[in-house]
Subunit: 596 residues, 2 copies
């Protein structure tokens, strides 16, 4: 059975030495998060993930969720107890606003917990995870009455949340949606329609489930401009604010999926269910985007989390499995064979995962701190800059971290040889579970289109220019530093490729939009390499400074080596991405559809 | 439920127009395979795959195999009937020697059937597939008595075969194996030990199962030099040559796997089972390699087969699913949305699969014809050349076609969005099934090592030099042909990268073997791109000639476009592989094992 250990030391290195979290001390909540407090929270959270959640991961996969004839759903053995432990520990409200019962700690702390939980038990983690997105949407867009009714219950974890977008005939293209909302005299609406792929749509973990549902108010315009957002609870709040009368909605079916069996993916039927408008009429997508952006970052974190736990188990196996001899002579001469970690091709896979994991973790913390600035700073300029970078990087994080995260679970499985294909070793579950992250919250091709079609050009390209400027300034500041050259030179090369690709779009996509679409996925991954490379440059700098200051030698030197591996082995891919982008759409689009 | 259609037209184009199968008319069996006969066989075989085998694929996945308390195993519903149909059609002996009851048709015909069957039902196909490998090992190495006893039954399909290599503590490193063989007075041996991961180890499809088992004769040397090969039937042949007395072997367990549920992956226990030596004492690996090389090529074909069926279904979905509008304006203005095949990023995935599939099919047919030359020609020089190329390309075909084949099933699943993750659509099964091909018959890292460590340098590099010469001659012959330039220029660039990588190994791997190991997987994929690129150049030439001769315009122009896509979008990767290879092993091997 696979095991998991939370990477607390690495997180503390990132927060304290690389990202210098003390710089953010003036933001609300950060003063409560001293290094000691942070360290204690992470230790505690890591323990919870490793000891309470990870052991339920295989059980969740085997048992799955069970829908009963009355439409109720039972989660796998142990899921509910774990949820109660988590709830009672106050983890759900960790970074939520104190005014609704949250602890108000920095959002970055919650992001770290998301990584730990995703590694330990992805399917379980989706239950509280979706609540956080629903909380954010209500917090930002709902009126005060709704906030008072729902947010404290959600921050406490007594009630959970979901998001209901997809219908059988519409996923990406929400303009096609048909679920309808009929206004009632008391200001509420009757919601009718069918939603599919609703994660955590029905379960037994909480007293109530707060569905956020996109629907079309009778008479609203067609397309995306006629969609509104509603809060539709499973039980209507009673006079005391508790879960009261059952609402007219139910789970019609649980999907049989490739993985994340521990999470109930529901068909939800709304049969004139009572709901209330969130935000303005016909501006539902706008409100839902708050939730989707949170969710997209969280899904990127899931990609990382899966890669981390797969890596850890691959390392264990590679150290223990004896097979063959090192090309350079026996390393375990007293044994009948060497551990397979001596073989370069096994190392290649391990180092690839490691070099990605550590940079991806840096990236999500870096971006998460920007989210904290956006949500908590009173400096308007700082908020704008943070918002720009967050908007630009959200699709990159979602798309790249889940694509590479999945590929890494496949590599980790490969290290196990035949045993990787057998259920009992647990590695194939990681592959099946990680696969969903490339699909939900906007398939990765949609992320790439969002990046290229929307985020790049926004505000005259302000965000991407700021990014180039930041990376350029770092490279310039280190140009005489020979020790940094193995990091800054490939970084500059990658950034140049990214800049060339950006220019190419500017020159070629206006007159022919397919040129942008044809290069979008390559561009997203090119961007990913450059921003992860930038993280490695930051980490290398911090490691060198740490070594000079007498820090943990083994830890810091491993950082420098791993960063060098990233630059040598992963960065060369930027040139191939650029070459592909520059070939444009012609050969891609030339075949008539019936020639396929 | 997914569907399948055998690509008969494409195969005929390859055989007749690209590879010019009529050139081989002097080889035994080829004169029976006139274009009309070939076409009729392929139509018939394609129909069998599509109509008999494909419908059982989902059933096989859902039901899996069932082991009963007495150790017997039941295959999924319909598997046995399909096997009987297949057997009665004479398909098992299609290319086997007439002297043992086979039809003696060219091996390439059988290879094509392997592709069709892998697409239609991978798990089912492994039952007859393994028999063919076992047949080859016995045919090449067994004495006449054994051949007479087993080969006619196997060619007929009345008995099936297996290969038994792996033990719990030894997979790749067969030198560690412990199964023992004790000589008996009558010339037979008693075999005792446990084998794992035995595909088709026990089932209900045939009257007998012929296990080929690697074991160590009492007193034999340690390591790989003390391993012998034995034939150990489930039922001992009786006086009439039929399945007689039960042998002392049994299936102890069926593994629960990620996929290929329809094939029984067995733990096989040998408890003093009666077996007979195949080939020489202590030369068992040598004999088993005949089987493994056949099997490795067949597994490469499986990778292609999975990619093909995944592609076909992704195309169907991409044509039918309406979502969003083309970037260039509505293509289905009367509908509420356009089919998603209009979106460049969807095309990108489809074209990637298509460009790979068509070249990979050309490659396996090209190599399969070389195998026919090797096994059937009386021209010693031609046999040597064929053997060289077959040896060199076997690891490339196994490693690259299964890595890319798997990646393509993931892409095909991605085109389905959320529906791709749900069981009922069948796409996730392709991903789970295709995953095994990267692992069994030597994990792909082992293929890469075989290529770099063994095949490259053999006979002074004769094979790789012949390959470079052939590609170089093709490029030179077409250097003034402008119409071929979009194919020959990138091909030359790729071949130059491959040559540079080869040189780099020669200069850097002698003094430091880890440099070869560190670049082996990149080298294998670099080689794969170049040889697939060469196939595209051959196909482009044939397509241009065909167009000039008034051939099928739509078909031939699609070839030219798809080939151009391959050159523009896939070939640029050769430079990244070369860059990685040239960085060597340093950063990969620098971390101490306990730093992971």
């Amino acid at each position: 059975m696979p095991s998991y250990e939370a990477p607390v030391e690495d997180v503390l290195f990132l927060l304290n030495d690389v990202l210098k979290v003390e710089k953010y001390g003036n933001l609300p909540g950060f003063s409560d998060a001293s290094p000691d407090v942070l360290s204690a929270i992470l230790e505690e959270g890591g323990k919870l993930a490793a000891e309470t959640l990870a052991p339920l991961n295989v059980i969740g996969d085997r048992q799955g969720c069970k829908r009963h004839d009355d439409g109720s759903v039972t989660t796998p053995e142990g899921f509910k107890d774990a949820y109660l432990t988590y709830k009672e520990g106050g983890w759900i409200g960790l970074s939520l606003p104190p005014q609704y019962g949250g602890q108000g700690l920095p959002g970055v702390v919650n992001t770290i917990m998301q990584e730990f939980i995703s590694s330990a038990n992805l399917a379980w983690g989706m239950y509280p995870g979706l609540s956080q997105g629903a909380f954010a949407a209500l917090y930002t867009h709902a009126n005060d009455e709704i906030k008072q009714a729902y947010l404290p219950k959600m921050a406490e974890g007594a009630w959970s949340g979901t998001m209901n977008l997809t219908e059988p005939h519409c996923g990406t293209d929400l303009g096609l949606l048909r679920t309808k909302a009929v206004p009632q005299k008391d200001g509420s609406y009757k919601i009718t329609g069918q939603k599919i792929f609703i994660s955590a749509g029905e379960h037994d973990l909480t007293d109530n489930i707060v569905h956020l549902v996109l629907a079309r108010i009778e008479g609203a315009p067609e397309g995306t401009k006629g969609i509104s957002l509603f809060v539709v609870p499973k039980f209507l709040p009673d006079a005391a604010g508790e879960a009261g009368e059952r609402n007219a909605l139910s789970c019609g079916k649980i999907e049989e999926k490739m993985g994340i069996h521990g999470n109930a993916t529901c068909v939800m039927n709304y049969d004139g269910a009572t709901g209330w408008l969130v935000g303005e009429e016909n501006r539902g997508l706008n409100a839902m985007f708050v939730m989707m952006n949170e969710a997209r970052l969280a899904v990127g974190v899931q990609g990382l989390g899966m890669s981390v736990v797969a890596y850890q188990n691959a390392v264990t196996y590679a150290r223990e499995r004896l097979q063959g001899r090192a090309l350079t002579g026996p390393k375990n001469p007293d044994g009948k064979a060497d551990p397979i970690i001596v073989h370069p091709d096994v190392r290649r896979m391990l180092m690839q995962m490691r070099a990605f994991n550590e940079a991806a973790r840096a990236l999500i913390l870096w971006v998460s701190l920007k989210a904290d600035v956006l949500h908590r700073s009173d400096d308007e300029k700082a908020r704008e800059e943070a918002d720009d970078m967050l908007g630009l990087l959200t699709p990159v994080i979602k798309g790249v971290l889940t694509d590479v995260g999945f590929a890494n679970t496949v590599n980790a499985q490969q290290i196990y040889g035949g045993h990787g294909y057998i259920g009992e070793w647990g590695m194939e579950q990681f592959v099946r579970d990680a696969r969903i992250a490339m699909i939900y919250e906007g398939a990765n091709g949609i992320q790439a289109l969002d990046l290229v079609g929307r985020k790049l050009g926004r505000d005259g390209g302000r965000a991407i220019m700021a990014f180039f400027q930041e990376v350029g300034a770092f490279v310039a500041a280190n140009k005489d530093n020979e020790a940094m050259a193995p990091y800054t030179r490939p970084l500059k090369q990658g950034a140049d490729d990214l800049q060339a690709a950006t220019m190419w779009f500017m020159q070629n996509a206006m007159k022919k939009p397919d040129n942008a679409g044809a290069g979008s996925t390559d561009y997203m991954h090119l961007f990913g390499l450059v921003v992860l490379g930038y993280m490695w440059a930051l980490m290398a700098q911090a490691a060198q400074q740490g070594l000079a200051a007498g820090g943990n030698k083994a830890f810091l030197e491993a950082k420098l080596t791993t960063g060098r591996f990233f630059m040598e082995r992963l960065m060369p891919e930027t040139a191939a991405h650029l070459a592909r982008i520059q070939t444009g759409a012609d050969s891609m689009m030339a075949l008539p559809a019936d020639a396929f």
